[in-house]
């Protein structure tokens, strides 16, 4: 009786341990699967359409005859919006991270952190909607534009959305600086700001760089809010004050209308490949900086 149960327990344990191992490698499986499925659908485009025309073409006219699938306008759209948002987000994010991590009194720090966490919890679609009804009219009015649905609106919104990532990761980086550095500087008579500026920031630079990288990753991949407030005109952008269309928005907006198995459908997956490779590279770089920090 007892030995039957023991054998049964053995079998159960064996099965569970196999399941645990499978779950362990699941992340690898999914990364590979994602890439494989993007390739499988995306590369179908190039049976009839030249990869060069896709990568370097300057016209995105997916439903004209003949169609044109040049992603340069979309790529530039993503780049312009991302650059704009980084220019806004980095100084603000660094400032806020220093303030929250080093300057603010404890009670205020808790409130600020909770607020930033709340911001992180707001879905992209909600921020898109709010941006549409508040930010877009504001941009139109301030810059005297015909429409507020422009790259600059997208940049501002994305900067805002990247804040939780940037602020909390930079704060982590600052906190990871050994406190002996800080006390050493203070003991030498430095003011708090001198300590932060000359000791803390250089020591935390790797982690802060990683924060910026992950922020960029978040911004490039952002879809819904960008689609709702950048105007979605697939022309080559020449300024921040005009409507643009990003790669993510193109996929989200056009997949609904693309016929399954058509070149248009495949081309959206091809954009997915480009996006996947870009974010993959960004994340690897960020991981590299984080590892460097933990080794230093």
């Amino acid at each position: 009786m007892k030995s039957v149960r023991r054998i049964w327990n053995r079998i159960v344990e064996f099965v569970i341990e196999k399941a645990i191992f499978l779950a362990g490698i699941l992340s690898i499986v999914f990364v590979v699967l994602i890439f494989v499925f993007l390739l499988k659908e995306g590369l179908s485009l190039f049976k009839e359409y030249s990869p060069l025309a896709f990568l370097f073409g300057t016209k995105w006219y997916p439903i004209s005859h003949p169609p044109s699938f040049g992603i340069v306008p979309l790529l530039l759209g993503s780049v312009v919006v991302t650059l704009g948002s980084i220019v806004i987000a980095v100084p603000l994010g660094v400032g806020a991270a220093i303030y929250v991590g080093e300057v603010a009194p404890v009670w205020l720090r808790e409130i600020l952190k909770a607020t930033v966490e709340f911001l992180a919890a707001i879905p992209s679609i909600v921020l898109g909607f709010i941006g549409l009804v508040t930010l877009v009219p504001l941009v139109k009015q301030v810059f005297h534009l015909q429409t507020g649905l422009t790259a600059i609106s997208g940049s501002i919104m994305l900067a805002f959305m990247a804040m939780p990532t940037i602020v909390s990761m930079m704060e982590d980086a600052l906190r990871a600086v050994p406190s002996s550095y800080r006390y050493g500087a203070i003991a030498l008579g430095a003011t708090r700001w001198q300590t932060i500026w000359r000791v803390m920031l250089p020591a935390a630079s790797s982690g802060m760089l990683a924060a910026v990288m992950l922020g960029i990753g978040r911004v490039i991949g952002e879809t819904m809010a960008v689609m709702m407030i950048t105007g979605n005109a697939a022309g080559i952008p020449t300024s921040l004050m005009q409507p643009v269309r990003t790669m993510t928005a193109t996929i989200a907006a056009e997949m609904g209308e693309a016929v399954q198995g058509s070149d248009h459908y495949f081309s959206l997956f091809a954009i997915g490949i480009v996006l996947f490779i870009i974010t993959f590279a960004i994340n690897l770089t960020a991981a590299f900086f984080i590892n460097r920090r933990s080794k230093a």
Binding site: G24, A121, I130, I251, T279
Partner: protein
Amino acid sequence: MKLDARLTEKVVFFLLLLATLVIVVPVFLIAGLIVKNGFAALSWEFLTQSPRLGMRAGGIFPAIVGTMYLVFGTAVFALPAGIFAAVYLCEYAKESRLTRIIDVAIVNLAGVPSVVYGLFGLGLFVVFLKFGTSILSGSLTLAIMSLPVIVTASREALNSVPQSFREVSLALGATRWQTISRVVLPNALPGIITGAILAISRAAGETAPILFTVAAFYLPRLPQTLFDQCMALPYHLYVISTQVPNLKPHIQYGTTLVLILMILIMNLTAVFIRAHFRKKKQW
């Protein structure tokens, strides 16, 4: 010189405060805007009826139910996979090339854009596995997206269980799995649940991954099986704020408020669980 340094510090700290306020104040404004306009829209009818007149009237009941189904489906798929993956990494695997590759994979899964998850779900679940545009496809897609977050949170929780607990259990003749199931997991569970709820609450608000895998533009009846489409709050909000002209804004704000409240309730539950068990914790 000394005075100068003090003055610089004052000015700089003021600028830092300003930067912080630029980020924080809009958050409060947004919250205020949603609450003020959203509460006006909330009513029994709004919460319990289907949309009518091309979404211009009626309620958002099918979207609420749909989002609940998706949250539930995501949890069912992502929780066991995520927890088991963390158990493998913390309790079974010795550090090796394989674990380093898994780490890289997790980092990258966490960074894949949500719309790419949507493409993947469309390619794998909807088309290749022929699940169609369905709750099943959507839940699986959202689950894979939540996986890295759940794994990371579970790992932290498992690592916080003292090593001595494991050794004691092993020393008493327990097998590895007995040790994990009787000592490690019970003590790590509050942390795991907290992290998992946070991850799944994020999934609840996602739009791009469900755009092509599950979401129905308008579906007045409730889904009957896993293979049915359903409405969902985030997608509904997208539809009514971009595709439906001449809509009274209170419906949009109401939908927003309901979505935010659902997410907030999940988050607060997580915070409560964490606080509750931290108080009870003996180690």
